[in-house]
């Protein structure tokens, strides 16, 4: 490599470094609203719980086998034979439970504060969607161990969804294509749980954070 090309490459690296430094300085100079205190932390807690769900979910997926013949045994193996497997599964399950409670508390609080009024309609809609998604996470995740409790819960839930007029039968058919719970149901629940819902959640959280950064918190207006 000639000396001029080397200087050019070094300049590009230095330029990228300075741009990165400028970006970090810009992020570092961002200030959080002084009103972000108390129950406002419910939103940060929800994001952290989702992060725990992601990390523990990936660890669980390393051992889980989404097949009715081996789903139960793989879950049992994870809990009994894998070091700290029981801990990872327990944290994943509890994080999901707490996520529903935290998002529900956040939505109720925003409702009582009328934080859905202009210009925060977007944040409100995303909050309600996140509550539905948190419930969907719980529902789809419960079937995955393929134990008798999970099957009963899934069957009852699918019956309820099916009974909702208009959209219910379509959604139930998408989640469970056959007459009875079987391999197709498990793979659809698994795909929804690990592929569809996490991406939608991440998108909702990203857009929500962006909207809050743009509009500020309720009460920021002078």
């Amino acid at each position: 490599m000639s000396a001029s090309k080397l200087r050019g490459a070094r300049g590009a690296v230095l330029g990228a470094r300075s741009r990165l430094a400028a970006l970090l300085a810009e992020i570092g100079s961002v200030r959080v609203s002084p009103r972000y205190r108390g129950l406002h932390w419910l939103s940060a807690t929800a994001v952290l719980l989702f992060f725990v769900q992601l990390v523990t979910g990936v660890l669980l997926a390393l051992y889980y086998d989404a097949d009715p013949g081996s789903a139960y045994s793989s879950t049992r193996f994870l809990m009994v034979d894998v070091p700290a497997g029981w801990l990872v599964r327990g944290m994943h399950a509890w994080a999901g439970e707490l996520l529903v409670i935290v998002v529900l508390a956040h939505v109720v609080r925003q409702f009582l504060r009328r934080a859905y009024l202009r210009p925060r309609e977007g944040e409100w809609v995303l909050g309600v969607l996140l509550l539905l998604i948190a419930l969907a996470f719980r529902f789809t995740g419960r079937l995955l161990p393929w134990d008798d409790i999970g099957l009963a819960v899934a069957q009852r839930g699918l019956d309820l969804i099916h009974a909702v007029p208009i959209a219910g039968p379509v959604l139930a058919a998408w989640l469970s294509p056959g007459e009875a719970l079987g391999p197709d149901t498990l793979s659809r629940f698994f795909a929804t749980h690990v592929l569809v819902l996490p991406w939608i959640t991440a998108l909702c959280i990203a857009v929500s954070v962006g909207l809050v950064a743009r509009h500020g918190l309720k009460g920021d207006e002078p």
Partner: protein, 192 residues
């Protein structure tokens, strides 16, 4: 852009802030907001208003609705708080997982010939109870309730500046709480 002033700031300090803003080529109009005294700043070089940060009497500088100054810095203060919360959450989750582990029933493949006697998850109890009592009409109403929640900005159009609007807004909140209480009650006493 708004420059918020400290509570109880004297007129001489306010005049000094105005003079400083005008030095920077900005137009200033004093206003009385819900959060106290403020200066509405305008001009072609609006970004110069940030130079007012640190001027005696200035509490916070707001651009549109976003706090630029006066809040907690993202780094390191806020990040450290979030990290602390994260560690507390991890500890809580580990304790819950240790003392109240999630159950694992019998193998679903082996017991398919008989219906297991299990209690439905808590979030399904209210819809189950509604389905048992009202059938699909009740479930449709529940779906409409979710839709109303989603479109709350369109449902609640009351103007809180007027007495009638305040009453309407209060009614919406009371109604919302009553629905939540009813669903929780159904979840507790409802069928498994």
């Amino acid at each position: 852009m708004m420059v918020l002033l400290h509570d109880g700031v004297d007129q001489a300090t306010v005049d000094a802030v105005i003079a400083r803003a005008e030095e920077l080529g900005l137009s200033v109009a004093p206003v009385e907001g819900r959060r106290g005294r403020a200066l509405a700043v305008s001009g072609p070089e609006l970004g110069r208003a940030l130079a007012l940060r640190g001027t005696p009497g200035v509490a916070e500088i707001l651009t549109r609705r976003t706090a630029l100054a006066g809040g907690e810095p993202l780094w390191p203060h806020f990040v450290l708080r979030v990290t602390t919360l994260f560690l507390l959450l991890l500890a809580t989750l580990a304790l819950l997982a240790g003392f109240l582990p999630p159950g694992l029933g019998d193998d679903g493949g082996a017991v398919r010939d008989h219906a297991p006697t299990v209690t439905t998850e808590w979030y399904l109890r209210a819809p189950s109870a509604i389905d048992d009592r009202l059938g699909s009409t009740g479930l449709l109403l529940l779906g409409l309730l979710w839709a109303a929640l989603l479109f709350m900005p369109l449902v609640d159009r009351f103007d809180a500046q007027t007495p009638a609007g305040r009453t309407g807004a209060l009614a919406v909140r009371v109604l919302g709480l009553a629905v939540v209480a009813a669903l929780v009650l159904l979840g507790v006493v409802g069928s498994p």
